[in-house]
């Protein structure tokens, strides 16, 4: 060892750095490649299944050509709409409490904690809960139970995003409105809501996107049905309800090629729907380009 200090050569460190960078790029590329592979499979196989019959006809037994998934498409739309109609007002209200009234109260803390837990709760557990609450008491699988399960999955998402979005509204707006003599509820509904409009809509869209692809909570609540009763007074909700996701599950697990093709078609439909909702939501809260 020499007494003079020699600057350490950075080669070793640079080599490590280069290796790690190459590794990270490679990992990123392969991870993203796999995810794309999935998307492209859905797109290609699904596209082959789509035609007009797919949207307008009722399902046929395996082997009989010309069947479609009209009932399942309609059923999914109705279930999602019902869940949304119930979850949006309740979620907005609870978000209002968290952001405007409760803030640091114990009720708000409990509510936030429960919302986070429920958001991480496996959706199949929510399905079991809906089964215990509605299927057991009503005596059969029904659209009500399915919509109820979806409602429970949506509620915490809407509540938390509402709170986040309302908190982004500058306080001066509230103060200005209060100074003009507005009551608190008018301030919230007319001023704060208007300022947070696009954010709230995004939260709702993302929640809808999230439930419209859910299968597990419908498996033993709405079940599935090859029929449709949309034209009765209660939309046929008291019976097992047709829906796309459980149809995908049943058809994909079946040994019939034409059913499997339809499952891919339904997958493409669901995927496109969710991507459109998600992109729309992101577009609404895009950062303004200066």
């Amino acid at each position: 060892m020499s007494a003079t200090m020699k600057p350490r050569r950075p080669w070793g460190r640079k080599a490590v750095n280069l290796a790690v960078a190459a590794g990270a790029v490679l990992a990123a590329a392969s991870g993203i490649a796999v995810l794309f592979w999935i998307m492209i499979t859905v797109l290609l196989r699904g596209w082959a299944a789509l035609n007009l019959d797919f949207f307008t006809n009722m399902p046929t037994p395996p082997g009989v050509p010309g069947g479609g998934l009209f009932n399942a498409i309609g059923g999914t739309l109705i279930l999602t709409l019902l869940a949304t109609a119930a979850a949006v007002p309740l979620g907005l209200l609870s978000g209002i409490f968290l952001a405007e009234f409760g803030q640091d109260s114990r009720v708000a803390d409990h509510s936030r904690f429960a919302a986070n837990v429920l958001m991480g709760m496996p959706s199949i557990i929510v399905g079991v809960f809906a089964y215990a609450v509605l299927v057991v008491t009503l005596g059969n699988f029904s659209g009500y139970a399915g919509a109820f399960a979806l409602f429970i999955i949506m509620l915490p998402v809407i509540s938390r995003t509402t709170e986040d979005m309302l908190r982004l509204v500058p306080n001066t707006l509230r103060e200005a409105a209060l100074a003009l003599g507005f009551p608190r509820w008018r301030v919230t509904l007319s001023i704060v809501f208007r300022a947070a409009k696009s954010g709230l809509l995004t939260g709702i869209l993302l929640a809808v996107a999230r439930v419209s692809g859910e299968t597990a909570p419908l498996l033993f609540t709405a079940l599935n049905s090859p029929f449709q009763h949309f034209l009765t007074w209660n939309l046929g909700l008291d019976q097992p309800y047709p829906n796309l996701t459980v149809t995908i599950f049943n058809y994909a697990m079946s040994p019939y090629p034409d059913w499997q093709t339809k499952a891919w078609g339904a997958s493409l439909l669901i995927t496109v729907g969710i991507l459109v909702l998600t992109l729309l939501g992101r577009w609404l809260i895009r950062e303004p380009k200066v």
Partner: protein, 336 residues
């Protein structure tokens, strides 16, 4: 991502704002405000009520199974609807093993992708790829499951499993993992598909945590001559460690209860096998497969008891991840 805690700056200012209008408010009390406040408070209470109700309902309905089998339920492997003998061990084992495999895949990959997105990629590519990852996190799990069954499982059966068996199967100890019929469906495939599924989710949160490290801290390390790798291991990761662990726990909770991605490919057998090629089952896949067909009270009750186990598992994982993320936000006192 899903977890956003804002710095709480509003309460104080709001309070002063209300005090400033207090005289008017005293003269004419806004009754509407009181109703509105209570209405919203009741709405906020719905969430904790639902959470408690889920726990209680599951407990209530799993009572018959617990009374019949007692604690033996949790350590018995037998699952036979014909003889009405039920035990949860194989499902719990399958849930844990498939989740462990998934995290083994998702953790290094999401760290690598987050590193790529935050430190290495040019901003434009980073933005595009980041958006794609977030979009992929929105794809429903049944799509992953279907792809796993129709596309991935045949490849596993034809190439991956024979390869692993030939080259790793002879190893003492470790080789035992790579045994079993190479038919594509089984624990290994389920774990991998589950990993693909949680990857976009954990990756997006890890990236957010990486991005939250203040640039000044990183820049000072760069200024001292550190390489990107050194900045990452010595600055970024220690700085965001709590948040990264929280992110992975969120992903873990998701993987534990994931149903559709697993049900398609796990093979559905209530037998515990050490070999990863053997079919197995998880709590969620058992529920998905058997619940709608179960008619006897004891059968339903046993299934719901499985659900209760899953509920408790995910609850604990959630609480841990909340604690971690909350601690990170508090320590940094910044919002995400």
């Amino acid at each position: 991502m899903e977890l956003r805690l804002k710095p709480r700056v509003y309460p104080e200012t709001t309070a002063t704002a209300r005090e400033s209008v207090a005289p008017a408010a005293k003269a004419k009390p806004y009754r509407g405000d009181l109703y509105f406040k209570w209405l919203s408070a009741v709405a906020a209470l719905v969430l904790p009520l639902i959470m408690v109700a889920i726990g209680l309902e599951l407990l209530y309905y799993s009572f018959p199974a617990l009374r019949k089998f007692g604690l033996h339920f949790f350590v018995s492997e037998e699952w036979n609807p014909v003889t009405q003998q039920f035990g949860a061990l194989s499902s719990i084992y399958g849930t844990l093993v498939s989740t462990a495999l998934a995290m083994l895949l998702a953790v290094p990959f999401s760290l690598a992708i987050a590193l790529f997105l935050v430190e290495l990629a040019p901003p434009r590519i980073s933005r595009i790829v980041g958006t794609l990852v977030e979009l992929l996190a929105a794809i429903p799990s049944i799509i992953y499951g279907m792809w796993g069954m129709f596309v991935f499982a045949p490849l596993m059966a034809q190439y991956v499993q024979p390869f692993l068996h030939t080259y790793l199967g002879w190893l003492p100890g470790l080789g035992l993992l790579f045994q079993g019929p190479p038919m594509g469906l089984g624990m290994l495939t389920a774990g991998l598909i589950l990993g693909f599924m949680v990857l976009p989710f954990t990756c997006a949160i890890t990236r957010d945590v990486f991005q939250m490290v203040p640039p000044v801290v990183k820049e000072s390390a760069y200024g001292l001559g550190a390489t990107t790798w050194e900045v990452t291991t010595k600055v970024t990761i220690p700085y965001g460690l709590v948040g990264i662990i929280g992110a992975f726990f969120l992903g873990l909770g998701r993987a534990l209860g994931e149903t559709m991605a697993v049900t398609f490919v796990i093979g559905n057998s209530h037998k515990i096998s050490l070999g990863l090629f053997y079919p197995g089952n998880s709590i969620a896949s058992s529920l998905a497969n058997e619940f709608a067909e179960a008619t006897e009270l004891l059968y339903v009750s046993s299934l719901i008891c499985l659900g209760l186990v899953l509920f408790v598992m995910t609850y604990v994982v959630q609480v841990i991840s909340q604690m971690m993320l909350k601690r990170m936000y508090r320590a940094w006192s910044v919002g995400l």
